[in-house]
Amino acid sequence: MLVKATDMGVRRGERWIIRHVDLTVDRGQLIYLIGANGAGKSTCAKAILGLLAIDEGSVERIPALKVGYVPQRLALSPTLPLTVRRLMTLTERFPSSRIESALAAVGLHRLGDPPVTTLSGGEFQRLLLARALIHRPDLLVLDEPAQGVDMAGSGVLLDLIQDIRRDLQCGVLLISHDLHAAMSSGDDVVVLVPHEHDERSVGLVDPYTGAARQGSGQN
């Protein structure tokens, strides 16, 4: 076990953004976190990483857990001069050989060292992945890493994530909208339903999430 959330809930005001979520990631596992927009996937990931406090339940992390995190959004200030390679060493120094191999793993090694603001959306997404895996994490948390990556590329990206999981023997928590990929390649799929715990909106669950709900929870 790397992380284990039990009956986890996060509340904002009167509203439960997520509630009664059980989720475990073991070493070497690929766990999908699926749900419609606003279902609380990003919130769930942040709660598991300890980036926001939970209001109910518990989250256990093994001591000294090394995490690689790719957030859903990263808004860079245009006034901050950052190149591809400088971003790789943002939180820790690494020898250049390690930077090269992380960039090579995501296919960015021939890019040179341009300012990150000039990258395309898909290139930037790959760079964020490289930045996460250079730490050789035990747990990789990826919040919609395939956004802006082209169709062919998203298949390649999934293969890449599988390779990383095999090489590093790490657990992966993957937030995605791709239900098919989740069902076929995930060790487990956790489905969140938006407004599930709102008093007033019970019964408004749409068909996509309603159907997916049957696969909900742990196994």
Partner: protein
């Protein structure tokens, strides 16, 4: 022209710009200009308190400014009011209370003009020692928090996940800013200190390939502006603060001119 007081002011200014360069970069990257203004405005309250309890001005200003930073740190977490509203409250509240307090001491010789715009005649040997001692300490602190602060500037979440302590780094930076502003009071004055933080960094942005280059470049531009401004001040008998800022502004415009020719170059 190279009188003793002038040499002292020049040395003090250079010691100051050494720190305002890198610190100003963070102001620009993190959009903290109004935060800087707030600390600067609270300096008048600091002056009043220093007069009241008979402290060295720079110390009084630093302590008050540091308290304002702590108050801001606390309020941001506790209060639902937006940040700029809180800053406005502290900034103008501090300024007003300071002015009212000072008005109780009509025979106290507080040169408001000098506090607002700087006065190179006012830099004493003690000031010089305080500025250089504090400056070296500030640079050391900045070096220590550089990585967490920079990571937090890009994304606090990434910094936390990597085990850095962005909150602590941000608090240390706030205190450091209070020290810089306190030290700057004699040279550029309360009203213009933020300009010395922002203009040099803005001038070098387009020439810098990394955050570290930008910080070093801003320090060099800041030192140049201080030296040029002080010479102008001594030559034309203009107030030192505005002269320094005008020099910085001229440098900024020059860096803009240099590269406006090739079309389509953003920022």
């Amino acid at each position: 022209m190279l009188d003793d007081f002038f040499i002292r002011a020049l040395l003090a200014g250079i010691g100051l710009a050494m720190v305002t360069g890198p610190a100003g970069c963070f102001i620009v990257w993190r959009r903290l200009a109004y935060f800087g203004e707030t600390i600067a405005h609270s300096a008048l309250l600091g002056v009043a308190i220093a007069v009241l309890v008979d402290l060295h001005l720079v110390i009084g200003i630093f302590v008050t400014a540091a308290l304002v930073v702590l108050a801001m740190y606390y309020l941001e977490r506790r209060d639902t009011l937006p940040t700029d509203t809180l800053l406005g409250l502290l900034s103008h509240g501090g300024l007003a209370v300071g002015l009212v307090l000072l008005s109780f001491f009509p025979n106290m010789r507080v040169d408001l003009q000098a506090l607002l715009f700087g006065d190179i005649l006012a830099v004493s040997h003690t000031d010089l020692a305080v500025i250089w001692g504090g400056g070296v300490l500030a640079l050391g602190l900045l070096w220590w928090i550089w990585r967490p602060l920079l990571a937090a500037t890009v994304s606090p979440d990434l910094a936390v996940v990597a085990g850095l302590k962005p909150e602590r780094a941000q608090l240390v930076f706030g205190i450091l800013l209070a020290a810089v502003i306190a030290a700057a009071i004699k040279i550029v004055g309360v009203l213009l200190i933020v300009a010395l933080l922002i203009i040099p960094s803005a001038s070098v942005r387009r020439f810098a390939a990394s955050p570290e280059q930008m910080a070093a470049g801003a320090a060099v531009v800041g030192m140049t502006a201080v030296a040029g401004g002080l010479f102008a001040s001594a030559t034309f008998d203009t107030p030192s603060g505005p002269s320094i800022v005008v020099t910085a502004l001229v440098l900024f415009i020059l860096t803009r001119l240099g590269r406006t020719l090739p079309a389509g170059d953003a920022r």
